[in-house]
């Protein structure tokens, strides 16, 4: 059986209905364990004090904010190439989730920045790139809402997502070029190098990241199911009106 069969809405609804409770349960477990561990059971950092606890929210949401866009890009490509409606609707469903994660990363970052850097906001390249990412999300969502016909909207937003991705990467390099910045580099992927994160933080962080990934999957599945139902609902209503 080919993977593409899950692009059939009926199959998708069946499969996702079976998977949802498990994903939901696992999400709850990971998030609760990770956040409780992170908030109550980690020590203070010698430099950052108790603010390190923000890392358990900030880093997972920042990662997922980017990954959500990547997922939308893949879904858009599938829609443009193979025209599977489910993937277009999944991209639509993911955008508000990605925007929320972006907002969380921005808010927690700002709250962290106030004690650490002495300012809510600095025009650091990574921060700036995130702000621009938020704008891309806003534009994408606004375009979905502004176009009435669902297939037209799917096509237009898919094109926007592709072009936007290219420009988002460009912006990332542009802002790096423009300002050296305060924000620390990525260390999470550099386990084993010198100066890694202490294990006391590392383990709960990984649990939290898993929790955010699962939360993303959960939300996207639920929203995609709703989008499919909404699509069918409007089709049935249209038929009723004609009859």
């Amino acid at each position: 059986m080919s993977l593409w069969e899950y692009a059939n809405p009926k199959k998708f609804m069946q499969l996702s209905a079976g998977v949802l409770p498990w994903v939901g349960g696992l999400t709850a477990v990971c998030l609760i364990v990770g956040l409780v561990w992170g908030f109550f059971l980690t020590p203070d950092d010698f430099r950052q004090g108790s603010t390190v606890k923000i890392i358990f929210l900030h880093v997972p949401s920042a990662m997922m904010a980017i990954n959500a866009w990547v997922m939308m890009l893949v879904a858009s490509l599938i829609w443009l190439i193979r025209r599977h409606h489910v993937s277009a609707l999944a991209a639509k469903a993911a955008a508000p989730v990605g925007l929320t994660f972006t907002a969380i990363a921005l808010v927690t970052g700002a709250l962290w920045g106030q004690p650490m850097w002495g300012t809510w906001w600095a025009w650091d390249p990574r921060l700036t790139a995130f702000l621009i990412l938020a704008l891309f999300y806003l534009g994408y969502i606004a375009l979905w809402q502004a176009v009435e016909d669902p297939d037209t909207a799917a096509d237009l937003t898919a094109v926007l997502c592709m072009v936007g991705s290219v420009f988002a990467v460009l912006s990332r390099y542009a802002v790096k070029f423009w300002n050296q910045g305060l924000h620390q580099d990525s260390t999470i992927l550099k386990v084993g190098e010198k100066d890694p994160i202490a294990p006391a933080f590392y383990v709960p962080l990984v649990v939290c990241i898993a929790g955010f990934v699962l939360l993303f999957v959960l939300l996207v599945l639920m929203r995609t199911r709703t989008e499919i139902r909404a699509r069918r609902l409007s089709a049935l209503l249209a038929r009723e009106r004609l009859a």
Partner: protein, 206 residues
């Protein structure tokens, strides 16, 4: 050189409007499409013109043989009559602007801006565009809207001339054009029955 439409189904807004429309149009012939408001004439013509995809069926026509005149005329209000026509002539790489103006009785208005034309004069200008496309198949959506009786007759004459040169015309209209030689196709019988997204995604799961 022929326009053949085979079991065509067309949709607008996800609703299939017409199904199983088939006809053929040979050089020198005209076909008049009739049907009540909202049956799908405009949608059918746009599909034929290649502006939207068909739901099912096939349209075969030689490439770039078709020109479409819609409800809207595509005129620029700030350009004069002659400039408007000249633009479309240049786009299609054809001459004959003066001739087109003469045949649609626009010579007196040639230096008038399109904004300053009356409704019927605008329509005459929109129709004159057909003459400068050099395309053999004319697809016309209610061409005689706002035209007075004399202009309708003038236009019927222009269509006749086009047919006589081996052209074809497909005309959706509610008004009698006086083109008695044209065949008439009533679209009402082709109204689609299972109308919504039949078989497509929208109903794919039950």
């Amino acid at each position: 050189m022929e326009l053949v439409v085979d079991k065509l189904a067309v949709a607008r807004g996800g609703v299939t409007l017409l199904e199983g429309v088939s006809f053929a149009l040979a050089p020198g012939r005209a076909l008049i499409l009739r049907g009540p408001n909202g049956v799908g004439k405009t949608t059918l013509l746009r599909t034929l013109a290649g502006l939207q995809p068909a739901v099912a069926g096939r349209v075969s026509a030689p490439p770039e043989s078709l020109t479409y005149a819609a409800h809207a005329d595509g005129l620029k209000a700030v350009l004069t009559v002659e400039e408007n026509l000249g633009f479309w002539a240049a786009i299609h790489g054809v001459g004959g602007v003066g001739d087109a103006m003469a045949r649609m009785n626009l010579l007196d208005l040639r230096d008038r801006r399109a904004a300053n034309l009356s409704a019927g004069q605008k329509r005459r200008l929109g129709l004159a565009r057909l003459l400068v496309t050099g395309r053999p198949i004319w697809v016309l959506d209610e061409p005689t809207v706002s035209l007075d009786v004399a202009s309708v007759a003038l236009f019927a004459g222009v269509v006749r001339g086009h047919l006589a040169q081996g052209g074809m015309a497909l005309i959706a209209t509610h008004i009698d054009l006086g083109l008695d030689e044209a065949a008439v196709l009533d679209l009402a019988p082709f109204k689609a029955r299972v109308t919504v997204g039949s078989g497509g995604f929208d109903e794919a799961f039950a």
